[in-house]
Symmetry: C2
Subunit: 526 residues, 2 copies
């Protein structure tokens, strides 16, 4: 070894001195410091990295939920801090994103107890711990640690996630659906988004490959399809029937795409709907399953809002349950279900936990999915643990059960009240119609804007609903996402507004919104 | 609303009954349950998703660190559990991956205390907490919570990460380098891998775009380049000079690629080296910076092993420090530095924390990077917090300082001893030469295999070093990665072996390795 090092040093010094004798030669790989410094003044751009020379798929991709409107909001927020009273409102109300805890929703105590104990297992044996943590959270932490080889919560796990946690999730799915689930089908991910990207990356070869997506849609799908170079094949949800999905309309879009030479690989369904908030009827789901089977489409089921249902007459049915209830098994339908810890009553967006359940693919393709997962090694362990907890919460008899249920019901009942209050408020406004918020975390009211308002938007070079959203923000501090960020039927305009602001703030939000809306309508009355 | 719902229900029932009257029509979007069930027996494949019909970039991608050898190891481990004594060893020793805590390394107490407190802030005010947690971990948790809007550790953060944490990281970088760092340049990510993918996605438009990568290389780079459809332009590290990097050789490769019509966008440097363990000399780093500036290449600096240096005569210098010391600023060089919480003395692989520091890009391109980051909303908050802690650990005077330093030094000194012991052991074996482990977590010994062994490998249809690694695993339970998984000079064979097994196990590993190697050499002696 010493010999190697000596040689190496000699050689480097040699080459260094050799080249520094002609420091201006462009081909020279070595420069003296002075020569280097002298060049730093050159105004020539460094690497040729411009918006024109980077990946056009990146440039094409759009993500409205964190788009321009949010940049304006962040600027306003800074101005409020530096110059209090500089705006007609004293806080920014972020109704643009499903981020409950950012608006004051509290985490579920049991979940956080277990996460904290798994982060610092050294305290599990200490007496004081029993005074600070519930007995079942301590028991659960031990249970989880025993499922982790070497109890090493700081180690990379299996690339699909820790086996014991996947077992718990599979058991939770089986209990939910009444049909078996296999932990080998579970891929734990850092939230649902990376899982969606993984499937798009797998399925999309070129712009000749298409994915059927609902319009309006959550822009993760359009963004992911753009990033992976495929084509989005839109199918419109029917606002007149509460954002119903007509497979006959989907079939027409599919056939149009095929005549254009697009090979359609998959159909995305978001249930409960984002941004539209509807909960699909069971017969509607059966029709979708049948359609995907008949047409040989992978069914990508975004089911992250499965716990967010606010109406008596609707329940969540997973597409896997529906398919199995129709007698369809692995050999009949390729189905991927996405779940996340970010939504539901838990709303743990910052933990980036989630999973996809992958069924109906050949072992060879499954191996390819595993390989892609393995390149990123694994998802974060706290998120993995949390994903197992939401699918296996405290049970009757556990010390935490009653407080857990109280926290869960409190959050869901409050969300339902907020949804109803905002829905009624929107429907009370001139030129606004809003479908029922059956589920998810959003309302997607339709704005009937005057020609004068549309002209003003055109003059401002923005879509009419973006124009409205900007005016709303500047007047009230309320941040909503223009419908144009999700797609909408041509000639219709919407905004997406979350139902997440704290309940006690809702009345003020409604009155500020009303006042703005009336003034806006007056200003642009023809 | 009621009207809408009534209409909707009516329409769905109508269409449902309408269609179920002709259940066998393939074009029918609705089916009765019986008709559906009757179809499930059809053996026709579901969606056309085969290895032939998925994204060929996915199929092309390879990741040896979790490749075939690991699958074999997992099978053997199961056999050891189900049939103890079924193999000539009683445990599998995973020396294939830099996953310290999976092999018994303990987490740094202060880091875990802060993470636990941020996961469950409800206990911060409790008296018992002071008995369980150090006073500075409690103070740090408060400090971090105060940097998070609404103290909401369960909320999505800014897509680059929480501003206050980025400030702490930027301050840590500035203290490390002696040159300023800007928190707006920091993008927090779920480990370093997603950051590398993000840059590849940004830079690669087609197979006509190339990235200069060291050979041997950490296969994340070849995998990411394959997944994003670019071309890997190899440059060989010189084993004879302790894996030195000769920019003259790199330049030759660059020119060859350009004559082939490849537009080379960036150069990857891994320092300290993976899998090669070298620490680059300062003049060598200056030459690389100069080369990238001259050739207009983005410098992608993998600096995740910056804390892992085991020799007196070497220090870590960030490429940013080197560039600034040469007088080069933002306008001279586009530079991205990758850091991770998974390596160093902390080894927190499971937390998936990391960041990239992005300098020298135009505001327009930065906006594009931000947009891609925003599509995944944000990285996990625990990982973000941990990334800030490793760049801002306890200071002199803090209650945890002495125990923290003891833990840190204990881990690093033990790693240095293990590296030396394994290095000496490899160099003592017939036909094996091993460069000095100056840094990182790996040794990359070269195997001089007999023609007879190479023939036997050929007969087994595997690379000779994969043949050796398989034999080693089956005989000893030791898992190493064949050099062919990283790339190596044609006609040379290597294995990558981590230095991570617990120190008390090293002697046994060495003797098992020696015994296997001698038997292997005997068996295949010409």
């Amino acid at each position: 070894m010493r010999r190697f090092l000596a040689e190496r040093t000699k050689r480097l010094l040699l080459s260094s001195s050799l080249y520094s004798s002609k420091p201006t030669a462009c081909s020279s790989p070595f420069f003296s410091r002075s020569a280097a410094a002298s060049m730093s003044s050159s105004s020539a751009p460094p690497a040729d990295v411009t918006v024109e020379s980077i990946n056009p798929k990146v440039v094409k991709c759009e993500y409205a939920v964190r788009g321009e409107i949010v940049s304006i909001a962040q600027r306003l927020q800074q101005e409020l801090q530096t110059k209090p009273g500089s705006h007609p409102f004293d806080e920014i109300l972020y109704c643009n994103i499903g981020n409950p805890q950012s608006l004051g929703q509290q985490p579920v105590t049991f979940f956080r107890e277990v996460l904290a104990l798994c982060d610092h297992p050294a305290i599990l044996d200490r007496d004081e711990t029993h005074a600070l943590f519930s007995s079942d959270s301590i028991a659960r932490a031990w249970e989880i640690l025993d499922q982790i080889p070497g109890r090493a919560t700081g180690a990379y796990s299996h690339s699909q996630g820790i086996k014991g946690l996947r077992d718990a999730i599979a058991a939770g799915i089986a209990a939910r659906d009444g049909y078996p689930s296999n932990s080998d089908d579970i891929f734990l991910t850092d939230g649902a988004s990376p899982a969606v990207h993984m499937m798009m990356q797998l399925l999309l070869r070129s712009e000749k490959d298409g994915i059927l997506c609902p319009i309006p849609q959550y822009p993760l799908y359009s963004a992911s399809i753009a990033l992976h170079g495929g084509s989005l094949v839109p199918y419109y949800l029917d606002e007149a029937t509460g954002w119903g999905l007509e497979t006959s309309a989907v079939k027409k879009q599919l056939e149009d795409a095929r005549t254009k030479g697009i090979s359609v690989r998959a159909l995305v369904v978001i249930n409960p709907g984002n941004p539209t908030g509807q909960v699909l009827a069971e017969e509607n789901q059966r029709a979708i399953v049948e359609f995907c089977k008949e047409e040989g489409l992978v069914l990508l089921a975004d089911e992250v809002y499965q716990e967010n249902i606010y109406v008596e007459d609707k329940n969540f049915n997973s597409f896997k349950k529906i398919a199995r209830s129709m007698g369809y098994g692995e050999e009949d339908l390729a189905l991927v279900s996405f779940q996340s810890v970010s939504k539901g009553y838990y709303g743990e967006c910052g933990k980036r936990g989630g999973y996809m359940e992958v069924t109906g693919f050949s072992p060879e393709v499954r191996e390819q999915i595993y390989k892609v997962a393995s390149v990123n090694l694994c998802s974060n362990i706290s998120g993995q643990i949390l994903a197992s907890l939401i699918m296996n919460p405290p049970k009757v008899g556990d010390e935490s059960y009653e407080s857990y249920i109280a926290e869960k019901d409190g959050i869901l009942q409050s969300l339902a009240r907020r949804a109803k209050a905002l829905e009624d408020a929107f429907n009370s406004l001139e030129g606004v119609t809003c479908n029922k918020a059956e589920g998810a975390m959003y309302l997607f009211p339709r704005l009937d804007l005057s020609q004068k308002a549309i002209e003003a938007a055109k003059a401002a070079k923005v879509a009419p609903d973006a124009f409205y959203a900007r005016r709303l923000l500047n007047a009230t501090g309320i941040v909503v996402v223009p419908g144009s960020g999700f797609g909408q039927a041509p000639g219709t305009w919407h905004i997406r507004c979350t139902i997440l602001p704290q309940e006690e703030k809702i009345p003020a939000i409604i009155s500020r919104f009303k006042a703005f809306h009336e003034a806006f309508m007056e200003e642009f009355r023809a």
